[in-house]
Subunit: 338 residues, 2 copies
């Protein structure tokens, strides 16, 4: 491996000068600069990002903490992140979270300015003490689809999202509307689902109904598991069976569709289904859903982080809210047995 010293030797200058050329410092004569450049080319020298990072105290990397990153919604957000990071000299380090333990582990290791210059955290609220540690260490953090004190976050109004979905269903005459989402007490600390459920509750009450715990099911973002929960919901006698289901994610909504098919129920004639996210798959499934700008959330979050990285200060805390809206497709219809 050729080092900066080799180049210095070859060019007959000091290592410092080579470094100055590398970082195009203004204070270096055109002549020596040319000579150094020539040596660099001759030796095919490339500086070690590692050594540079250690010396400068910055690693030129952005860490992304993301639970289950292969989920369609996470990918769509990541796509936005990557788009925003095109052209910047930062590497992207992925911290995938598949268990609550992972989360702590990652944050523990990330509370060092030399692991990542900045952090993008998706969907999980960072453990309080870790967030404080990061701020203390001067590591800028931006939250996407999550909120936390003192750091900027990019979110949507999940409560309103829950209202939108439920209002749509109520407007179609449905009265037995079930909810399928994350357990509010889930180990990861996901909160969007709970907020969507809150909107659901509100609208039901406004419409004069009382939310019925028997029409609520909790489970992880998994199609298969969601299908099982939905099957359970649909197994009830017809007069108690829900005529509509609001799932707080498209993946779960797709599971519901699967369960309906299995149960021999026609959607939307026998059952209306509304999801949340509007991932690409939903277009294919014809799923009516609440659209949230996933790509934009990643793009926006990364932009804020990069801005802070550029300015070398912590980003201004604040909530950046993105707009959402209902996308009507073919899984919802007037309630037949109102």
């Amino acid at each position: 491996m050729v080092t900066i010293a080799d180049v210095a030797g070859h060019a007959g200058v000091g290592a410092g000068t080579v470094s100055r050329v590398l970082n195009d410092s203004p204070k270096v004569s055109a002549a020596t600069k040319a000579r150094v450049l020539a040596s660099i080319a001759a030796l095919d020298y490339r500086p070690s990002p590692l050594a540079r990072a250690l010396s400068r105290g910055r690693s030129q990397t952005v860490g992304v903490v993301v639970p289950f990153f292969t989920q369609a919604s996470a990918i769509e957000r990541l796509r936005g992140v990557v788009a925003a990071m095109g052209g910047v000299p930062h590497d992207l380090v992925l911290f995938n979270v598949e268990s609550p333990g992972h989360l702590d582990e990652h944050f523990l290791s990330l509370t060092r300015r030399d692991r990542a210059d900045g952090l993008l955290v998706m969907s999980v609220p960072p453990p309080h003490d870790h967030l404080a540690g990061l701020t203390r260490a001067g590591v800028p953090v931006v939250l996407i689809d999550a909120s936390g004190a003192g750091v900027p976050s990019v979110v949507v109004d999940d409560v309103e999202g829950g209202r939108i979905a439920t209002r749509h269903l109520v407007g179609l005459g449905h009265r037995r509307i079930a909810f399928l989402g994350d357990d509010p007490a889930n180990a990861f600390g996901f909160t969007s689902s709970a907020r969507r459920q809150q909107g659901y509750d509100e609208v039901l009450r406004e419409a004069g109904m009382t939310p019925d715990p028997r029409l609520v099911r909790y489970g992880p973002h998994d199609r298969r598991l969601a299908a099982e929960l939905a099957a359970d919901l649909l197994a009830q006698p017809r007069r108690r069976r829900p005529t509509a289901i609001f799932a707080s994610s498209d993946m779960q909504a797709l599971g519901v569709l699967e369960a309906a098919r299995q149960a021999g129920l026609d959607v939307p004639r026998d059952l209306s289904v509304v999801g949340f996210d509007d991932v690409e798959l939903s277009t294919y499934a014809g799923l009516t859903t609440v659209h949230q700008p996933l790509f934009d959330s990643g793009y926006r979050g990364a932009s804020i982080l990069l801005e802070a990285l550029r300015g070398a200060g912590l980003p201004a805390p604040g909530v950046h809210e993105l707009a959402i809206h209902l996308v009507e497709r073919s899984t919802t219809a007037e309630c037949a047995h109102g």
Copy 2:
């Protein structure tokens, strides 16, 4: 930031001893070890991965070079990579490639043992000189869905895949079978599509037909663009129009389906379509396709790399071939106008 020196001071030992405790070297008395551990806890010390990497010459990271990583097939492979890397102390650094320039740039920067301890390269054959440089630098490289001299690769038999798809179509009585895939001369150097086309050519010849260039279209892995190409193909007068299309990726096949719908053609009555990959979306679209084990390819590739990383030598070059098979769904049928 608390450093190893602080800990050493606090515990009243040398930095070397702290380091030994950190890397649990056998040669340190239980007593001092306990004392050091206590100091570490007291000061909430965490070693700098950066400094450690510089000193050891290993960065504890695995780089993944992947073109258009948000594509469904890439994601599925990445899912396998992540699964294989669960529990290992390596970070995952993503090098997304969206342009041929990116590719060179990434490899240039990666030809340093301190950027990544090992490299996983997907779908693009690394530029020859770079590959040599990596080997010279002792950086283990594993190729997934690509081949290269002197390095292990995880692949499928793409030629056979092309045969399987085409044979299926020929078996259904189709004679005007179009091919839609990557340009063999594409700037990224993707080659799987060209090999699939080779299998397609072979089977056509075996069946006594001559591959017709007018039934071949090239374009990137993009649904929209593939739809345009397919529309063009389908715009021909009925007697010249293909009765079947083999697309060398599912994304493109989905584009074909879109175009068929636009053209008012019924699939599979008026047009049969076969894809390649068998991504999740294809289940929904009911697409008949050649299944390749995407997840497994990532898992296998990462396993080989990690094994090499563990053994601290370059991995044995060799071709690891994964099995493929046809998945018949509802986009292919007997040719009506044989």
